[in-house]
């Protein structure tokens, strides 16, 4: 087959971080090529360079054998590269046809340049003839099911006839199994038409279902490329390829006190469409880990345990007493503190200083009777907390937005320490946190676990496995392993990524 795209020695830096480090990538005409890798491995950076969003620092890109410069999204499209974002931006009030030709509507000659709907519908029919798929394009996009919206987005990307390369960024993340089949059908007909597809996914089982080849990224490099068949035959472990090498021992030693008092008991917790049948027991003196990929329902689970969303079924008991968490206010009162996954929007008031933020979750403690703030005492408390979490720099008057990701996380934890809770739930605690601060955060979790129950929820398997005493994996909203077992890292990874029960 002919090589349609060849990228050689691509490098890209963001400040001091090397996002891509000498990446080589080849794409053949009419193949479906999956890109795999954990968050931050470099796959999104690569496709952003390919679609003209980022400029590469060095390296060469050849399309059809001729070197090209993709300086802008328009240049990429002119070279026949189209991409569909993870959450396609469509105009809900327009029909499928109108969305496909958005910005390139056929005009009628004459006053005001009225839109020629007939010409547009004809062009849409031509598109559908090239890529046969069953869809009603006269419906408003807002009324379409997720898969039809995805198809409209793909057709929008392919509205020009000279598109040779199509990039799909996690198109199946919101689709059901049946919807997925219809998207795959479209992908196969594109393939038959000679269009090469770069396909990003987190779901490894899809790779063998649809992709001809796959390339695994790790730490900004392409580490392996296999044809799906060869990988199946030789039994290559994709999870193994995706994982970083051990990054030194940043995890504190386990204390292993399994017999502590039960802080939280969850039985059969369910939120339809997000997670179901989640049960675990959290004890004082231990860290319980839940591993789940983005979209597996872990984030929603954490919010259900904090009263942000109301579960449809199941029970939560807190220190032996059944509890229905009405809202975060209620959850905090019952001794639960959530260190949320998105600390910038959910955990912090970025424009305010450290004292404001650390005391915010317990204003009752921060004020006299009558509600007047105890300024001096609060400042002292914030100083003390800043020392405990090793805040760098310990400048309490700075707005929180001026701190690094790791230190922002420390401020959220300080906020939790100020609340003196019995149950701490950490979600994605070290996203965007450098390795040094990570060790501090893990040590803090361990310290917290001496007096409280600590639940760590993360899409980083190494993190969950390294820091927790016991672990569960959540796959598509369902727990795979039991909390009483302590699976190996690989078992946990296989459970969370592919739903394999060990």
């Amino acid at each position: 087959m002919a090589t349609v795209l060849s990228m050689r020695q691509i490098e890209k830096r963001f400040g001091v971080v090397k996002a891509l480090d000498g990446v080589n990538f080849e794409l053949e005409a009419g193949e479906i090529h999956a890109l795999l890798g954990v968050n931050g491995a470099g796959k999104s950076t690569l496709i952003k360079i390919l679609s003209g969003v980022y400029a590469k620092d060095s390296g060469t890109i050849e399309i059809g054998g001729a070197p090209v410069e993709l300086g802008s999204p328009a240049a990429a499209i002119a070279h026949g590269i189209a991409s569909v974002q993870q959450h396609p931006e469509l105009v809900n009030d327009f029909t499928g046809v109108e969305n496909i030709f958005l910005g390139e509507e056929a005009g009628k000659p004459g006053l005001g340049g009225r839109i020629d709907r007939k010409a547009m519908r004809l062009a849409a029919q031509k598109l559908l003839k090239r890529f046969p798929i069953e869809i009603d394009l006269d419906r408003r996009v807002g009324e379409m099911p997720a898969v039809d919206r995805e198809i409209v987005a793909v057709l929008h990307a392919l509205r020009r006839e000279d598109i040779r390369i199509l990039i799909l960024d996690e198109p199946t993340s919101t689709l059901t199994e049946r919807e997925k089949a219809s998207l795959f059908q479209l992908m196969r007909s594109l393939k038959a038409a000679g269009i090469a597809i770069i396909y990003i996914t987190h779901r490894l089982e899809e790779v063998f279902e649809i992709a001809d080849r796959f390339t695994v990224f790790r730490g900004g490099r392409n580490v392996a490329t296999f044809t799906s068949r060869a990988a199946l035959e030789s039994g290559v472990s994709i999870p193994e390829l995706m994982l970083d090498e051990k990054t030194g021992d940043i995890f504190p030693p386990r204390t292993g006190e399994a017999g502590g008092e039960v802080m939280m008991e969850v039985r059969g917790l369910e939120k339809k469409g997000l997670f179901s049948d989640v049960s675990f027991t959290l004890r004082r003196g231990e860290i319980l880990g839940i591993f789940g990929l983005v979209g597996s329902g872990v984030d929603e689970l954490s919010k259900a345990l904090f009263g942000v969303i109301r579960p449809d079924g199941g029970e939560i008991e807190i220190q032996g007493k059944p509890a229905i968490l009405k809202d975060p206010h209620d959850a905090l009162k019952r001794g639960i503190f959530l260190v949320p996954g998105d600390r910038r929007t959910e955990g912090l008031t970025l424009s305010k200083d450290v004292v404001f933020n650390t005391t915010l979750a317990h204003l009752g403690k921060a004020s006299w009777i009558g509600g007047f703030l105890r300024f001096g005492r609060n400042r002292k408390a914030a100083e003390e907390l800043a020392r405990r979490v090793a805040l760098q720099p310990p400048k309490l008057d700075r707005p929180v937005s001026a701190f690094s990701g790791g230190n922002q996380q420390k401020i959220v934890i300080a906020k939790g320490l100020y609340r003196d809770s019995q149950i701490y739930i950490f979600v994605e605690p070290t996203v965007g946190v450098d390795i040094g601060a990570r060790a501090t955060l893990y040590a803090l979790m361990r310290e917290l676990s001496k007096k409280a129950g600590v639940l760590v929820i993360s899409s980083d398997c190494d993190e969950v496995h390294g820091v927790a005493d016991r672990t569960i994996a959540l796959y598509k909203g369902r727990p795979i392993a039991h909390a009483d077992a302590a699976p190996s890292r690989d078992q946990l990874l296989a459970a969370g990524i592919m739903g394999v029960r060990s």
């Binding site: 959530l338 912090l348 979750a361």
Partner: protein
């Protein structure tokens, strides 16, 4: 980090405020020599008291990042309610309480619709303001009310003095201190700000954000009616269009103050009100018709919003820095 000596930003901002005030005073003094006379300064401060009370209420709404466009209409309704109660023979305090209660009620309706029913704030408050204006015609078919005013003692609210201060100024000062304590020295103030700055994180911190949005609208309505009470006291009659002159100065005061001091706060609002009143008073003194002075005030409002907008200031700052670098 470079540790060069810098004046604390508050001092710089205060200096900017005093400078601006001095420029305004100098200009008007030049054209109207009576501007800085004792009598006119008293008039200026009395005028400021009315706008200041309305602006203090509005500050709470702006702090939680909402808009209230209903308070002028609500204030008219409050004025007519006050006039009606006085005319019917209720005591002064009961009548004032009645007027303010109407404002509080209107604010609570606004707040409920916006915080709990999630209606859009601008449209909702335009509508409730319209309803309030309609209702204000109910008492007298639109004619102004002034019966019993002299007997009731309401005129003293404008004319009386405590020590050397006019009564309206004293009322404004008390309200400002109370509002300042709530907004800047209490847990409730923290919650108002947290709600405005990041509603999600405030919710996750256990703050009942909807209740605070409701409270902000309630305070805004009540304060608007308290403000109009002073205006009724100074004009000696309750009028269906009394509230209409509150809207622009109040918004301009809050935004001008926020632009000067970096964020909406009670001191900032007071500073903004003083600047607005200094201008409006000057225009009156120069006998510039209200439609021109309104146009100028509106221009100031747009300017203040532009300065308050962080994106715009950043662009402007970059432009200036680029120029000095070159």
């Amino acid at each position: 980090m470079t540790d060069t000596f810098k004046l604390p930003p508050v001092v710089l901002r205060l200096a900017a405020f005093v400078g601006l005030l001095a420029v305004i005073a100098a200009v008007f003094q030049f054209f109207a020599p009576a501007y800085l006379s004792n009598g006119n300064l008293h008039a200026l401060l009395r005028h400021m008291s009315v706008n200041g009370l309305a602006a203090i209420g509005l500050t709470f709404v702006i702090v939680v990042r909402q808009f209230d466009l209903s308070f002028p209409g609500v204030a008219s309704l409050g004025a007519m309610t006050l006039g009606f109660l006085l005319a019917t023979g209720y005591s002064l305090s009961a009548s004032i309480a009645g007027g303010v209660a109407i404002g509080l009620l209107a604010g609570i309706i606004n707040g409920t619709a916006i915080a709990y029913l999630r209606l859009p704030d601008i449209v909702t408050t335009i509508a409730t303001g319209g309803v309030a204006i309609g209702l204000s015609y109910f008492y007298s078919n639109g004619t102004s009310i002034s019966e019993n005013f002299f007997m009731s003692g309401i005129l003293d609210l404008n004319d009386a003095k405590i020590l050397t201060f006019d009564m309206p100024v004293v009322i404004l000062a008390c309200a400002a201190v109370a509002a300042g304590l709530i907004l800047h020295a209490s847990r409730f103030g923290r919650s108002f700000y947290a709600t405005g700055e990041n509603r999600v994180s405030a919710h996750f911190s256990g703050i009942r954000v909807k209740a605070y949005v409701l409270a902000a609208f309630g305070l805004c309505g009540a304060m608007a009616c308290l403000a109009i009470t002073l205006l009724v006291a100074s004009s000696g009659a309750a009028n269906v269009s009394a509230g209409s002159q509150l809207l622009m100065p109040a918004f301009a005061a809050v935004y001008l103050g926020a632009a000067l001091f970096g964020a909406p706060s009670i001191p900032a609002t007071l500073a903004g009100t003083l600047l607005m009143s200094a201008m409006l008073n000057g225009f009156t003194l120069l006998a510039i018709p209200y439609y021109y002075s309104d146009a100028i005030v509106s221009t100031v409002l747009i300017g203040a919003i532009a300065i308050f907008d962080p994106k715009l200031t950043a662009t402007l700052g970059n432009l200036l820095r680029g120029r000095t670098a070159r």
